[in-house]
Symmetry: C2
Subunit: 611 residues, 2 copies
């Protein structure tokens, strides 16, 4: 057995056989950045060996190439490649630590309860006692009453409810309250009246998970809890998690359980905040992208990543929560809105629901910006959607100083057009340690505005500033001098970083163009959804050409629209029907293999020429 000690946290992994440092870190619960999911590509998982270098496998050619001689000499290794052969200690430098992302939890207010059709309804009833001349069974007397008085015949009951009925009926002379789901099943019985029905809406994101505890009768969000997705150590994005599933024995179970237990944890936290018990929760609604949706259900999404990218299931589902291990009332249900396609999940459907795009007369464009950019364009008559593989640049991946939207990430850049001096804003106002997606967009927009880069994206070498210089691999622009930040290095934006952003924005913009070619360019609203979208400055996004600029168009950061949509699906049967209709009606355009998309992608890689 080997022991791996991680510094500075001093967490320890016990290994029964040789494993990579990254695997040991997962074991010990130490977060190490790994954008590529341990595939020896991103170079984000640098660690420093603090004990005998012989305790690790020697670096091979690939690792040597990624790290370069200087880092190697200083004891740097890639956590995904170095395998443990003896007890060892490694130091995880600040820039390799996976920081807690700023989680966008705010969901807009919910509609008035009067306008909703709740899936749960409570009835206060009085069940007559059995008599010697008519000793009808407890459950059947209750059901007969519900049929005759409320026209709810054939109500189902599960064993948990059946077990409670005899006692509830004898507590208070037959006066009981019952909770009925969708007019179909009694899922609760109590001697006391129900003050409300409790539910939880979950936005199960690849990176973050947000849970909203909702009072269904009042249509109020009473608590919001969020956490990083504990699946991250198995791969930063869905594709690397799908690979993990395929390569690891019980990989699917690990990912499934990670999601379930994280959600159970959030439910417990939210209940504590609202001073109720998880057993009081009767209904849960979960949205997520297709891979998250499948992981949540314990369904292997490997075929989603292979052409023709068909999901394993797509229509709306409802299961007993207990069947999925979700810890709420024994008789409660989990509802999952439908998904559209392999890369257009129920989170996108929830965004359409939340923004009201599906009932607008005029065209709206909805963009969820992330590693995959899901795009919907349409109105109440027609909706089309697509998904583009933008790559990880918007989440900080493949970018030299890229990082997620966590404390210390540069989120906004301003460059003085005359002096070319730089002013930075960082998340939580911390000293800068890297650049997140919105910071990268902001920086590039400013470099364009100030003429530091051409519309093709190359640095203007004639500038009179020491910030622009030749780096190890081409030109780079210094955003933060090493004296101004705690990393001990200059934080720069490189020619390659700009190229990464060009590819990412090119992909999304090409997707938008494809949809506009089909449905028209007269767009009155652009919704920027998701954490990425919400923090992006609309004018920066237009400057780099990420989104179009149709005349008279409003650009709206719509917060956590997926979470808001999940809340609507939780509390309102009409919203569920809408979600199901949206999934049926919305046309999906597959971009993979489209020559037109390739053409548009290349032309949109460039920035708009200055007017």
């Amino acid at each position: 057995m080997f022991i791996v000690r991680f510094l500075p946290s001093r967490k320890i992994a016990h290994l029964h056989s040789s494993a990579s440092i990254l695997e040991a870190a997962r074991e010990a619960g130490v977060g190490i950045e790994s954008t590529c999911g341990g595939k020896h590509k991103c170079g984000k998982c640098k660690v420093v060996v603090k004990s005998d270098p012989q305790s690790l496998s020697p670096p091979d050619e690939i690792e040597q190439k990624i790290l370069g001689p200087s880092l190697l000499q200083r004891g740097y290794r890639l956590a995904c490649m170095a395998r443990v052969s003896k007890d060892t200690s490694v130091f995880v430098p600040r820039e390799s630590r996976s920081a807690a992302q700023v989680i966008l939890t705010s969901a807009r207010d919910l509609p008035s309860p009067n306008s909703l059709r709740s899936p749960l309804k409570a009835y206060d009833i009085e069940v007559p006692p059995p008599t010697l001349s008519s000793p009808i069974a407890d459950r059947e007397r209750l059901l007969n009453l519900m049929a005759s008085e409320y026209r709810l015949p054939h109500l189902a009951t599960d064993p948990h409810v059946v077990r409670k009925i005899p006692f509830a009926l004898r507590q208070n002379e037959g006066k009981v309250a019952v909770m009925v789901r969708k007019g179909q099943e009694i899922i609760g019985i109590s001697e006391k009246k129900y003050s409300t029905a409790w539910g939880v809406a979950v936005d199960l994101g690849s990176t973050t998970i947000v849970a909203y505890l909702v009072d269904l009768f009042g249509a109020n969000i009473v608590a919001t809890k969020s956490t990083m997705n504990p699946q991250i150590p198995y791969g930063d994005d869905v594709i690397s998690r799908i690979s993990f599933c395929q390569q690891e024995a019980h990989g699917l179970q690990k990912l499934h359980k990670a999601a379930i237990s994280a959600i159970n944890g959030l439910i417990a936290e939210a209940c504590e905040a609202a001073d109720i018990m998880p057993e009081h929760i009767m209904e849960v609604a979960v949205v997520g992208n297709t891979a998250m949706h499948h992981f949540f259900l314990g369904v292997d999404p490997r075929f989603v990543s292979l052409a023709p990218y068909a999901p394993c299931l797509s229509s709306a589902q409802a299961y007993k929560a207990s069947e999925l291990g979700i810890k709420i009332s024994n008789s409660g249900y989990v509802y999952l809105p439908p998904i559209k396609a392999g890369f257009v999940g129920s989170d996108s459907i929830a965004c359409v629901l939340s923004t009201g795009l599906y009932r607008s007369r005029t065209n709206s464009l909805l963009i969820d910006i992330g590693t995959n950019g899901e795009i919907v364009l349409g109105n109440r008559d027609r909706m089309i959607c697509c998904s583009t593989a933008a790559g990880p640049a918007f989440e900080g991946g493949h970018v030299k100083w890229g990082m997620r939207a966590a404390s210390g990430a540069i989120e906004q850049v301003r460059i003085d057009p005359k002096t070319l001096d730089v002013t930075l804003s960082t998340i939580h106002g911390q000293q800068p340690i890297g650049i997140c997606g919105s910071g990268l967009i902001s920086a590039v927009a400013e470099l364009i505005r100030t003429g530091c880069i051409s519309h093709r994206g190359s640095f203007n070498k004639d500038l009179n500033t020491n910030r622009l210089r030749k780096g190890q691999r081409g030109m780079e622009f210094v955003l933060s001098w090493k004296e101004e930040n705690p990393t001990g290095h200059d934080i720069v934006i490189t020619q390659k970083d700009i190229a990464e952003l060009q590819m990412a924005k090119g992909a999304i913009r090409a997707g938008i163009s494809i949809l506009m070619e089909s449905l028209g360019s007269d767009i009155k609203r652009i919704y920027l959804a998701g954490a990425g979208g919400n923090y992006i400055d609309p004018s920066d996004a237009q400057t780099i050409g990420l989104i179009p600029s149709p005349p008279g168009c409003r650009i709206i950061g719509c917060g956590n629209a997926a979470g808001h949509g999940a809340c609507l699906a939780l509390i309102d049967l009409k919203s569920r029907r809408h979600a199901e209709k949206i999934a049926n009606k919305m046309e999906y355009v597959e971009l993979a293999g489209s020559a037109r998309f390739q053409d548009l992608f290349f032309s949109h890689m460039f920035f708009e020429p200055p007017h």
Copy 2:
């Protein structure tokens, strides 16, 4: 901690606090007879202290009275009363050991599969692959095909099936077999064709449990397994088990789990015999009396034992097997036919189903003889039923030498009318160690035939035989001299034993009379059901007046009719509908509190005067 060692088996109980010997025996898995369920009444649980008598609590007045000075002196104690205060060893004498009852398993042949409507149907289908232009989800392509080709729209799927679909569809170019339940849900998917659907029918009796493994498509019973009900240590009859539920913390859970694990054990045994896996079983049908039905579902039946004796639930139920802990296919179901009343369970409904009483033009009478005698009288137009508390005499309770129908039980008695010599038949031809129900009926019938007892039931004291003598508590008749049996005692039938039988038969015969008064006395068939019924000699039963003797009436021992009815309900949806109709249609007559029943009971306690 105390240790209790049981001799001769040498089994050991570890006790964390003081407990009765009976509780220790349950702990150690030692079967001690306890007809009254540990209520200090039956005196069947005699044991002998082999270590320091001080290791047990001293006998109180009740125990002293039940045992008498002679047994007390010889170290006898009642296991239900003696509490352990030190490590101890006790000897369980042969007559106190709960013997394995002879279990009636034989069920009649099942009808031809062509006449049945199976709840399970297999389809061999070919699901087209997804394409880039139509990347429809796997589950939805499958469901679309089932809807268009087989007119089975809206089929449900649980997560277990959903998880299998993507792999099954890609194994053999979309060729798969699916198992559909009731035209409503896909409960299995496989790359190989289904040769059959496997099911298990269970007769969950208070004393014995029988499981039949059935090939549903061939309508064949391929294996039959049985066991004593492991709930017996918690009480011999349902009333004492219900008391156990009320008095013990987690009593219900213990009884529920005992039933579930016994059934799982039988399923595993039956599968081994047929060389299949429990996972291959798709459907289970369970019948039992109301208390057993409730215990199986984990529902507390305490109110069933209180006026007006209403069950907690009565209509037919179907649950996912996994929801009840039944270990078959993850997606399989358990079906429970309806029950009629607190003391007319689904076993009685199954008997009506099996005998075909519900479709006969002429009147038939069905009697299930046990501690509770369930009686049904009727024809295809009208059926009435009742239940009488016959008491434990037919199962050997409250009878000095009474025992269950196990090896060594006297089951038939013949008395020479001249010499009054006795010839005995015992179960398995063993030396006699007690008298079971059919033996008691046979003995009393012979005592009547030979004039040894009057029609009022009292011994004729003028007989010239040393077999009739004055015992400790009134007259008694010796069936087996102590030299002829291994107990070391004369096996006798006492005046009190005869009185017990008179009360038991009086109750059942009064119930029959009540039903006949309502529906007429023209009966063409009498079915004797259950283990008790099947072994009773019809002419003995008529001699003691247990059953009527209408002219032209056939008396039919119908084997394990409940088990046979359970098999029918398992394999045939029409039988399920019949069972549900029977439960609705059959009228229930409550005898508790009926003055007419009391009158009839007293008059039927006497035997028919000789013609």
